[in-house]
Amino acid sequence: MNDKAMNDKVTKARVKNDRVLRVQDLAVHFKVREGMLFKAKTHVLKAVNGVSFELNAGETLGIVGESGCGKSTLARAILGLIKPNRGRVLWLGEDLGKLDDETLRQKREDMQIVFQDPLAALDPRMTVRDIIAEPLWTFYPRIARVQVDERVRGMMKMVGLLPSHVNRYPHEFSSGQCQRIGIARALVLNPKLVVCDEPVSALDVSIQAQIVNLLKDLQKKLNLALVFIAHDLSVVKHISDRVMVMYLGRAMEISAKDAIYKRPLHPYTHALIKAAPVPDPRIARQVSDDGLTGDMPSPLDPPAGCVFHTRCPYVVKRCELEVPALRRMENGDWVACHCAEELDLTIGKPST
């Protein structure tokens, strides 16, 4: 066995024993009032409806899905920013739902979030120094000013900003640089888990690549557990170890990255991959007719049975009646589809 394989094996073994996050049957429901005055009705919107997964230290889980699938709500529920209606979030074995506010606040030192719109997530009246230092002041109010300054400058260097810009305000930076500030703020406390909610979707392509590469490097360097939420499958591919696909509040599939892009298990994953535009004219022009038709059903009134059955090309009678459970396949990946064993959804090799 050569050194690299040996190393890989060691890392894998270490990672396996280092489960930081366990989410079990998590559900978040919102009450929505529709109509006016006397005709008003209260509906229950099941934004997240029974999602389970696990995350190890140093591992990246990508979460993809179209708007309204519940991925951002899930992110907030993981961090305890929303109380779930059902299910548990176990952080290092501890149920976050059972903690009082102050204890939960203390736990957040280890769990941080990076938001989508970099400029909106930064206070325009604070300097970069104050923005990045704020978590430090919150958790260590008696920390020495010199120490804070040193840490802030170190963070800025780490995320690729010039430490000499420490007294500037957010509006003096471009959106890509603002996202770097957001990342520095999230990492300043040395967290174990960082949840990134669409961190690159507001950025231009060339800048997007910079941020994805930065997150990937930092994750390796700091052995972070990363939850990376995006609607763009190709971005997720470049950063994740495993990918979870969500649709209407449910996990459709959780698979290892290498497997999911070659042979997805769920028809919805397959449709997402096929719909992603390929920046190569020869491939892009091979028009395929197996694209999804119609729109996503309203999350207020999701279909009975499998939520995807109204748009699924492989639908059978059972799908309309019975909700498929998320179950483990032979190769260790997870899927919620009655027909997963019978379907071969291998993505066709592009002809050259």
């Binding site: 231009d204 690549a209 590469n213």
Partner: protein, 321 residues
Amino acid sequence: MALLQIKKLYVDFKTNEGDVHAVTDLNFSIEAGDALAIVGESGSGKTQSMMAVMNLLAENGKARGKALFKGEDLMQMNMADLNKHRGKEIAMIFQDPMTSLNPYLRIEKQMIEVVMHHQGLTKTEARAHAIEMLRAVRIPDPERRIRQYPHEYSGGMRQRVMVAMGLLCQPDLLIADEPTTALDVTVQAQISQLMSELRAQSNTAIILITHDLGVVAGMCDRVLVMYAGQAVECGSVEQIFYQPKHPYTRGLLKSVPRLDQPGDAGIEAIPGNPPNLLSLPEGCRFRERCTKAHEACSEAPPMQLDEQNHAWRCFLDGHSQ
């Protein structure tokens, strides 16, 4: 004669901090029935150049240059003459379908008003035509749907309504500004396919403004790449995707994460940020981010053109990798 020919187009905005040079010396043309993509990052001037052509610039914006549509200069026209072309021969679709539809009016009202104005149809005729158009863009149950308000439509359906409205008068030219950017991928695929089909049926030329190279590859014949207000490269899709000559175009193609490539090929980012349009650097505007920059780049590079009608703004011959 080209359907639309842009000559020496400049767009400037007056702001408190000084003049923003949004578009500098833009030249291109599009033939009838063609699909041209204008590609670039935010602030590259791709939208403002088309807004200038349609005379839709914000109040502090000033445009000069020529925009010859079938030989007539749109930039010299008064509002009344321009309105005879806009909406009828040239239609525009905007990025965000919710803000471009009037939330207080039924879809019906918004659609038939265009046809009645430009084609002089009666209300009944116009309505029938609008329903037919909605059916063409695959809105289910159009007779009922046309009576609804925009908020009753989903995002994808609203954008389909925008496409339908743009094509109501069978324009010769459709300018689509990021028509699929706000949509989810499965819906995005539906809209791009729809636009390609409609183009094939009615021979409408399309100018597609986008930052998404994937959409360009599937839909367009020619590509114009813009950077910091200038055209930096222009050629056929094959030339741009397979033999890009400008270092920026090459960088852009490498920074797109791709699904169809194996393993951890990784993505190469272009270092740095686009220049500030208030104080543009002397010489080549891409110089500070360019790995191939050399002394000559402190002078503004000329547009080069080869025999295959492939143009690029760089001192390099475009062959060295």
